[in-house]
Chain length 446, copies 2
């Protein structure tokens, strides 16, 4: 049997490796359009923060190892341009311009996502950067060094924009951030978002939410970002306004798409063609709270889905339950985490949600060094179910969110969650963990 | 109605406060034999570490506030010596030697636990200390200062002994620890225990497990701890060999006792007398994994049980599901955490357990500053259920254990747990959280 994979990052290489490990006789061919496979894309902002580290530190396993040790037919510089479902072939062009065509028995589409390019004049100027591929990271790092960049404008204020902002400030680069929508972190409860905003501003970052971007111009070695109401100058512009799934190839092949035009897959990661799977940032997933399809491109799901595809191709029949949308990021001293639904999402999903925000501490009463933790918790008035949690704080947030994520997987009520036996010791928590305090307060609203 | 409470620490004062908040007209009388109420006993080692902090920093709410703001009839210096169930009275003696007797409609026994005194000669010598009450903490702190203590022998190697060891080393006091049993942290997987032991020893602490203690002698201002095979000298000896529930009063009243002679209570915290409740370190609880009675005296349960008793006294009928035995402590740079059952406990409870130990990292591949994390995970071969987790590491352990604790409350299988959507960002975790890596490995054994 021939298992063909389009895309050599997290989902694709996880699937290839697992398939070969489980079935060494299986022919596994991976087509990757770049020269890079299996790297930690999420690590790029942290790598960029340190001028002494080569970007290639982020490569988890080089192509050579996949080829030589794992016997995977990994073809880098191969861009797949067409899937022929009737003939069960994929075809495309190599980096050298040579056409190729290969047949498959089972196909995995793991084409990932791409940064959204804002439709403005000047978005293609040299010095206007995007961060997605390892090659993007290398390019940005080289550009900063060669041009001795001291001032950057970031278009966008999402978590990648914020991570990049921190990385640049660490290198003492001045940063201004601008975006058209007026609300900072719109998915977040306003009290928590305000805490994040004040942390960012306290590090000398200029924030301009609510400024429509008109164009980017170049002149005298300076880029000018012209917005409605303000002009911002910098040596480099980073565009981080979100990503979109790479699903064009899939759509052309007549396969179904789901939310945000991600590739629709069932719990076994099968597309609408039973011989074709999709996994990673290009594919959708079921949300464990709503039961509905959703698109949340994150690394754990990509790896997990890659494994599941390998198992299913080999006939094990693995079903993935779904995702909770659990995510965490660091911005300067703050840890910011979420899982499940926020109030608006809960309303849209048909729940009758109530929410609270509490302020607690990261350590016990009278324990030195305690930091404040804000918790937003959402529950359903009808069923009593826990629906979502957001947290912000300087310590004790990143891993604490996982307790709430597990509770969502278990479909716990807020009351059941409030009864959980969580860990307490003075250096790590108040007696009542901030999550329990939040649950106790939310219970009064339900 | 008259609600009488014996004991004014976590469980007793939680019950008193909640009862008065919910029903201001209720008469609430609390008898506390010491002068201290509502303090953070777990904070004592950390307070002792800092010679500049007064021990009374640990008082969460002084007696005056309970009396004046909350209108609780709080009688400190009142030792209850008898419960008369027929007459529904409690009686005893005040610190001034005056007899007292009071009737009750509902009674809460919240008498806590006491340190076990080893039955050896010299256990009562001046300079031989126990740590349980705030008064014990004050005494130890004063003794160290007045005698300029530079060398301490700790009898015992449990978590309080280890926390005290760290506190003393922080003050540059030399510490030797000794205990009769040969195994260091016997409840812990040997690989994890070895990691803790090496951390303790790396801080210049002498460990003597497996040395039976014969007697303590005093001479020339020095205490000599005579053991089988070795003599240890110090200016102060701290005995920390565990605690026992204060259940004598309860037993004399003819009420049932449970494991470890803790007071047996049902899920509503009622003793075998429906008008008498027990809560806190003196009472037992149901273990959510085994369903059996267990005795794990910890602060969160005490507070939670205090609240539940108040609700039940006021007719709300609250049932506590039980405890997972979740606990965490810090020893030098290490965080040490557990929840649920270890392999031996799982066998004793009738499961067919399998276990694994994995070594993972606290941060992503190539992220600077990553520390190793050891995870021990136990599951049941028959049902596939997750039974328990232990973790050791320099960061990312204390709160991570809560995800496993919630999974135990939800009776998740290891497979269900392995599918949970846990948070990932390079500064906080590998893509596969150490708990997920452990679950994936354990699945292969089940």
């Amino acid at each position: 049997m021939k298992f063909v994979i389009i895309g050599g990052d997290a989902a694709g290489m996880s699937a290839a490796s697992r398939a070969k490990r489980r079935a060494p006789e299986l022919e596994v061919i991976v087509f990757e359009q770049t020269q890079d496979v299996s790297y930690s894309a999420c690590g790029m902002p942290y790598n960029l923060a340190d001028p002494t580290r080569p970007m290639d530190d982020l490569v988890v396993r080089p192509a050579r190892v996949f080829r030589e040790k794992q016997n995977i037919d990994l073809r880098t510089g191969h861009r797949v341009e067409r899937i022929n479902r009737e003939g069960k072939t994929v075809s495309g062009t190599t980096a050298e311009g040579k056409a190729f065509k290969v047949g498959y028995d089972k196909l995995l589409i793991a084409t990932g996502a791409s940064p959204i390019k804002p439709p403005i004049d000047g978005a293609d100027l040299p010095g206007v950067m995007y961060l997605k591929l390892l090659e993007d990271g290398r390019r940005i790092k080289a550009f900063i060094k060669e041009n001795n960049v001291t001032k950057v404008v970031i278009i966008g204020m999402g978590y990648i924009a914020l991570e990049m902002c921190e990385a640049l400030r660490e290198r003492n680069v001045d940063v201004a951030m601008v975006k058209p929508r007026p609300v900072f972190l719109p998915w977040m409860h306003p009290e928590l978002a305000a805490r994040v905003r004040s942390e960012v501003e306290s590090h000398g970052v200029e924030l301009y939410p609510g400024y429509e971007i008109k164009a980017i111009h170049q002149g005298n070695g300076v880029l000018k970002v012209t917005c409605k109401g303000i002009d911002l100058e910098a040596q480099m512009v980073l565009t981080a306004v979100g990503v979109k799934p790479n699903s064009e190839l899939t759509e052309q092949a007549g396969l179904e798409l789901g939310p945000s035009r991600a590739i629709a897959v069932d719990r076994q990661l099968r597309t609408s063609d039973p011989d074709i799977y999709a996994a990673g940032d290009c594919a959708d997933a079921f949300h464990i709270v709503t039961g509905e399809r959703t698109w949340v491109p994150l690394a754990l799901r990509a790896n997990r889905a890659g494994w599941a595809v390998a198992d299913n191709v080999l006939g094990t029949n693995v079903e993935l339950e779904g995702i909770a949308g659990t995510a965490v990021f660091k911005v300067f001293k703050l840890q910011v985490a979420r899982t499940g639904l926020n109030l608006r999402q809960a309303e849209e999903a048909g729940f009758e949600p109530a929410e609270i925000v509490i302020k607690s501490r990261s350590r016990a009463h009278a324990h030195p060094g305690a930091k404040s933790i804000l918790v937003n918790m959402v529950g359903d008035r009808k069923s009593g179910r826990l629906l979502g949690v957001q947290m912000v704080g300087e310590e004790g947030v990143a891993h604490r969110i996982n307790a709430a994520a597990v509770a969502l997987h278990a479909r716990m009520t807020v009351e059941e969650f409030s009864q959980c036996d969580l860990a307490y010791a003075p250096p790590f928590s108040p007696v009542w963990d901030p999550l329990l305090t939040a649950a106790n307060q939310l219970l009064k609203q339900l």
